[in-house]
């Protein structure tokens, strides 16, 4: 393994606090009158996509924004519950930009790029200002000022929230800014439109091929830059907290056109989800991490104790997070909480014998009273009751770890540009800021930082450097890409093998969960790669895809997405196999401390791994970007 010259992050040098400022100062600018001559294609309308499209529109660029949903307001950022971090230090509890930066680097188990994380921490404060100015109704104190709560992996209260609907309120803010630009004519919105391929001309990203999900029309859109803000790929596990439509197709097809895929094995298993009920289950529902502010996590202390929660006396309960991590208690980071929950039920100490542990609000209700809890968390309690028919005010919640977020994604440099010039990647779709584990309330922060504040600067710099010829849809490369898309759809629609798409997706999910989930080992991963290859072969032989191309066809939509997941799953296992260390959410059983914590190997793996596509059945090339830590000390992560 050697460092490849391709993976130059192009970070500015100098003191870390000055890098973003220096970068902005040295970036070329586009004259206001010239901005309207540039077409920018933004794929995805979540926090990153909507914020980028709105802001680029405000600057005067010609923006086209695409989403598969019927309205940009429905992107999955909307489901984020608990909050958004910002280093405002409104609580006077010792917070600072440097502390948010440090917590995030440490939370990611020292596998993120320092310069990016520092920029994120700097921008965090502007995001809150922006959102409040837009009318986002954050929680407030009686004095009229903004309130905060705490999230995992930190010892300060820096999380801003809007009850349990923070993502919804932030997304609606960005959506409204976007609609204003649609009205102004600077942004053209394409809802119910899915990107199916990337058009690369002379090595530069110049457009996308899309399918209109209502009419089936295939179209090529060309522009001067392409932004992918298409979210994460947790649905590779079939069951995850992601929305049903979340998929990897945009970034996967960009990968196949030459964009490197970084750290695909870094996935986040969220500790507090509602347990699986049956085979028919279509998705998992998260209970916000913010509930760990008031809830205490426990399991029966004795192996084989299957009694109902209320029948287990206090002395026979094991508050295992408080016991093992006295300084962070129930607010340890997600990877640590999930792993410990897994230890409990692997050891026969699951709630009622299930793969679950308890999240108990008894003490908080006794201390603060039910109305106070209701005011802050009422909608989450209500959601839990609707799904489980149990009242969490009187019976502890049962919680279960579930795939939630993917830290991996397309590799990007400091300007958020991928290895294909002109292709920018933002939000969860890129690999950037969270290393091997994301801290709670940091996803909203990153999506909005990328969209509102980073991309509008860096794309300007890219366009101002010039050198882009005029291209048209007659270009042979554009035509070939569109033909490739049409051929794949035709191939799928010819399938009448009798097996349903979901049955394949479920099988893939089971392989991924068992072998590439919360714990991984060499043997399991090697087996998983073989199993996925066999499943993929079977998919193309025996799947059934009904309906036609020229109409609204949800089967065809799923068929393409699952085909991509069947390829991505293999790359995730390959990445997990090659990274012979444990870090954050990537836990290789062969590499753990005596206490069962993740054991990093900084000698061999203090780097980003980025994979380069070499053909469908060929092994991809692994490139590395070495990570150097100048502002924080590389230490064994501890929350004890």
């Amino acid at each position: 393994m050697s460092s490849s010259p391709v993976l130059n992050a192009r970070e500015p040098s100098g003191p870390i606090e000055k890098r973003w400022e220096d970068y902005k100062f040295h970036t070329k600018l586009v004259n206001p009158a010239n901005k309207r001559k540039y077409d920018i294609l933004v794929v995805g309308s979540g926090l990153a996509g909507a914020a980028a499209a709105a802001t680029l529109g405000e600057l005067g660029y010609n923006v086209r924004c695409f989403c598969y949903q019927d309205s940009p307001r429905r992107a999955h950022s909307i489901a984020a519950q608990g909050g958004i971090n910002a280093a405002k230090n409104y609580q006077n509890d010792g917070d600072s930009i440097h502390r948010l930066f440090y917590d995030t680097v440490k939370g990611g188990d020292f596998r993120a790029r320092e310069s990016n994380v520092h920029r994120l921490a700097e921008i965090s404060v502007n995001i809150i200002d922006q959102a409040v100015a837009q009318g986002v109704p954050f929680g407030r104190e009686y004095g009229g000022l903004l309130d905060n709560r705490s999230f995992g992996g930190t010892q300060v209260s820096r999380t801003f929230y809007a009850r349990g609907q923070t993502g919804q309120q932030l997304l609606i803010g960005a959506y409204q800014a976007l609609e204003k630009m649609v009205h102004a004519g600077n942004v053209k919105m394409h809802p119910r439109t899915e990107m199916l391929d990337l058009v690369v001309i002379d090595g530069v990203a110049r457009g996308i091929v899309t399918r209109d999900l209502v009419s089936g029309k295939i179209e090529t859109h060309l522009g001067h830059a392409v932004v992918l803000a298409t979210g994460g790929y947790s649905n590779v596990f079939f069951l995850s907290t992601n929305a049903m439509g979340c998929n990897t197709t945009a970034i996967w097809r960009a990968y196949k056109r030459g964009a490197f895929f970084a750290n695909p094995c870094y996935t986040q298993i969220h500790p507090t989800c509602i347990p699986v009920k049956g085979d028919y289950q279509s998705k998992l529902t998260l209970m916000s991490e913010s509930l760990r502010n008031i809830g205490r996590v426990w399991s029966p202390a004795r192996t084989g104790d299957k009694r109902a929660a209320l029948q287990i006396p206090e002395a026979e309960r094991d508050y295992f997070l408080e016991r093992k991590y006295p300084s962070f208690g129930n607010l340890v980071p997600r990877d640590v909480a999930s792993r410990n929950a897994k230890h409990a039920f692997d050891d026969g100490r699951g709630a009622e014998g299930m793969e679950a542990v308890y999240l108990d609000f008894r003490d908080a209700i006794a201390r603060d009273g039910k109305p106070a809890i209701e005011a802050k968390y009422g909608n989450l309690f209500q959601m839990y009751e609707k799904i489980t028919a149990e009242d969490p005010y009187s019976v502890p919640m049962k919680i279960y770890p579930a795939p939630h977020y993917t830290m991996g994604g397309l590799w990007v440099d400091y300007s958020l540009m991928s290895t294909i010039p002109g292709l920018f990647v933002a939000g969860e779709a890129n690999f950037s800021d969270h290393g091997a584990n994301r801290l709670g309330a940091s996803a909203l922060m990153q999506g909005l930082a990328d969209g509102y504040f980073v991309l509008p600067q860096t794309i300007g710099g890219y366009l101002a450097s010039g050198g882009l010829n005029k291209v048209s849809t007659d270009h042979p490369q554009a035509q070939q890409t569109q033909r490739d898309v049409e051929a794949q759809l035709e191939k799928l629609l010819g399938k009448r093998g009798g097996e349903t798409i979901d049955s394949f997706h479920r099988r893939l999910g089971r392989i991924m969960w068992n072998q590439c989930g919360m714990a991984r080992n060499r043997e399991g991963l090697l087996g998983a790669i073989e199993d996925i290859r066999a499943l993929r072969e079977r998919y193309w032989a025996t799947v059934s895809v009904t309906g036609s191309q020229g109409s609204l066809n949800q089967v065809l939509e799923r068929a393409g997405r699952v085909a991509d997941f069947l390829e991505l799953g293999e790359l995730m296992c390959r990445d997990a196999l090659t990274r012979e260390e444990s870090c954050g959410g990537h836990f290789r059983e062969e590499h753990q401390t005596a206490g069962g914590e993740a054991q990093r190997d900084d000698e061999r793996f203090c780097h980003v791994a980025a994979w380069q596509y070499q053909g469908d059945e060929a092994t991809p090339n692994r490139h590395i970007e070495p990570l150097s830590f100048e502002s924080v000390k590389l230490v064994q992560r501890s929350y004890e």
Binding site: Y90, K283, K386, A389, Y452, F453
Partner: protein, 248 residues
């Protein structure tokens, strides 16, 4: 449990539609309503038939994609619940269910149970925002907001834009949707400068889209999965009168 479903099937926007009957067998009471439809659909798919198209995404009751008129009621029988959060324990073995798309002229059917709610986006586009360029904002705590106002604004901001209010209204009025946004922004100090222009533009767009008028039946409030209060409509009407008298 076993149920009989009468489901609206329609090929596309221009075609006529009709009810088709399906049996849903061995349904668990723990399934969500949409998981029950998934089971029916997987059966159809396995037989090579086109599954029933319906909009859905987050399945957590927050994205607003799911719709469905179930036995004549938008989002079905449970109060304050979206279709995706409705569970089969709300029904009984042997029940017959009539499942239709949301019915309103401004929401044309695209296929089966899928409708086009783009009119809602255009109402927001007409003025449902506070104009602030990215990077212009002052410190977030420089404008304190009375907690009561902030909480009330939040209760209107909770709208998920699903369209149940329109589907429940005999006039297909979008008043609750439009008024919720006007009230959310109008209650906050940041929303004051554009308050009058906003109500005039949004109401004009609502009328232009072909939504009917409000005749105070409160069906919208009863159907709203987020239980948004009709007092929003009173606020909208008050703002509209003031704005009209002031001539903007």
């Amino acid at each position: 449990m076993n149920l009989t479903l009468h489901v609206w099937r329609q090929a596309d926007r221009r075609s006529g539609g009709a009810f088709a009957t399906y049996e849903a067998r061995d349904i668990s009471e723990h399934m969500s309503f949409l998981e029950m439809l998934d089971v029916v659909n997987e059966g159809l798919e396995a037989r090579g038939e086109a599954p029933i198209a319906f909009d859905h995404d987050c399945r957590e009751g927050i994205c607003g994609a799911c719709s469905l008129q179930i036995n004549g009621v938008p989002h079905g029988p449970d109060k304050g619940t979206t279709t995706c959060q409705l569970h089969m324990r709300s029904f009984r073995d042997g029940d017959t269910l009539v499942i239709e798309p949301f019915r309103a002229k401004p929401f044309p059917v695209l296929r089966d149970l899928v409708v086009d709610r783009g009119a809602f986006d255009r109402i927001i586009e007409a003025g449902g925002y506070i104009s602030v360029r990215t990077g212009q904002a002052q410190d977030a705590n420089s404008t304190p907001v009375n907690k009561q106002d902030a909480d009330e604004a939040f209760s209107y901001a909770a709208c998920i834009g699903c369209g149940a209010c329109v589907a429940a209204c005999k006039n297909a009025s979008a008043s609750l949707f439009t008024a919720a946004k006007i009230s959310h922004l109008g209650l906050l100090p940041q929303g004051q400068p554009e308050r009058h222009q906003r109500v005039l533009s949004m109401v004009a767009q609502m009328d232009l889209e072909g939504f009917g008028s409000c005749t105070n039946q409160y069906e919208c409030e009863a159907a709203c999965p987020k239980e948004i209060s009709v007092s929003a409509i009173a606020r909208m009407n008050r703002d509209f009168v003031v704005a009209s008298l002031r001539g903007r």
